[in-house]
Amino acid sequence: MILGVISDSHDNIKNLEKVLNQISKFNVDVLIHLGDFISPFMLKFLAEYAKNKKIYAIYGNNDGDKLYLKREADLYKIQIEEQPLILNFDGYSIFLFHGFGDSEKTLSIAYSLAKSKVYSSIIFGHIHKPYLNYVNGILLLSPGEVAGIFNKPSFAIINVPSFSGKIFYIE
C-alpha cells in the first residue's frame, strides 16, 4: 500500500495542485492531509484529485472554521477528524497528529510517541519542514509544507508495510 502525505497547505491552491500532480505519479492508495487547510474550499481540490482514493485529514491549529470544513469534507467523502487520528492499514497502526506550540515541542512529542513503540509510524505536520527519522524502527515523518511559506513545498510517500518513507520537493 502506498500513502501520499501532505500538510499545511494554508490556502495555497497553486502549490496544492502542483503537489497533487506530483503525487499522482506514485499511484497512491490513500492520501493523508495533516491539517492547516485554512479555508474549506481547499477540500474540493483534494477531492477532485482523489476520485477513487480514500482521503484522511485532521484539523490543524489554524483550521478555525471546523464546521464548514466538516461540511465540505462530508460532501466530498473526505474523512476529517480532530487530532490525533489513528489509522490501521493491513494490521499496522499509524498515529497522525498535526502538532502543538513550536517545532521543538512538536518534534519532542513525536519522538516520545515513537519511543513508546505502540504504533508503527508517527506522522505529523505543523513544523513546516520535512522530517524523516527512524526511532527504534518506528518511522517518524513530517512531509513538510505544501504552502511554501518557510520552506520549499514538499510531500511524502510512505510504503506500508515496509514503512520506507521518502520526501519529495516541488520547484
Binding site: 487530532q83 490525533p84 489513528i86 502543538f100 506550540g101 510517541l113 519511543k115 513508546s116 505502540v118
Partner: protein, 127 residues
C-alpha cells in the same frame, strides 16, 4: 523547583486504592520555577501492570491539546508505585528522558517529585 499541589494530594492518595500503576499528567504553568497546577488529567496505563506503566500516547497528545487550549502546558507527569517506594525506578529514569518534566511518584509511604538533570534525579519540592 517547587510544585504547588494543594488538594491534589487527596486525589493522589485516592489513586493508591488501585493495585495497578495509575498515571496521568498535570497541566498548569511554570512561573519562576514554581509550578501552579490547574488540571490533573488521568492517562491510561496501557500495560495494566502493578509494577510498571506506559502512558497511552493518544492520551498524552490529548493532554497537550487540552493544555494548549487553555494557554497552559503539561507541567508534570505522575504515576503510582502501589507497593513500592516513591523513588524513580531505572525504567522511570528512561521515561524521564522522554518526558523531561518533573515526575511525581505516589506511594503508600509518601509522595515525592523528581526531575532529571544531567542524567541524575533531583528531588522537587512538593507543596
Amino acid at each position: 523547583m517547587k510544585i504547588i499541589l494543594g488538594n491534589l494530594v487527596q486525589f493522589f492518595k485516592y489513586l493508591l486504592k488501585y493495585e495497578e500503576e495509575k498515571t496521568g499528567v498535570l497541566i498548569g504553568e511554570n512561573k519562576d520555577n514554581v509550578i501552579y497546577v490547574k488540571i490533573a488529567m488521568p492517562v491510561e496505563n496501557i500495560l495494566k501492570s502493578k509494577v510498571e506503566f506506559l502512558a497511552n500516547p493518544y492520551d498524552m497528545v490529548i493532554a497537550h491539546l487540552l493544555a494548549e487550549n487553555y494557554g497552559l502546558n503539561v507541567v508534570s507527569l505522575y504515576h503510582t508505585h502501589p507497593s513500592g517506594l516513591p523513588i524513580p525506578s531505572l525504567k522511570d529514569i528512561e521515561g524521564m528522558k522522554l518526558w523531561p518534566i518533573p515526575w511525581i511518584i505516589i506511594s503508600k509511604i509518601g509522595i515525592k517529585g523528581w526531575i532529571l538533570k544531567d542524567g541524575v534525579t533531583e528531588e522537587v519540592i512538593l507543596a
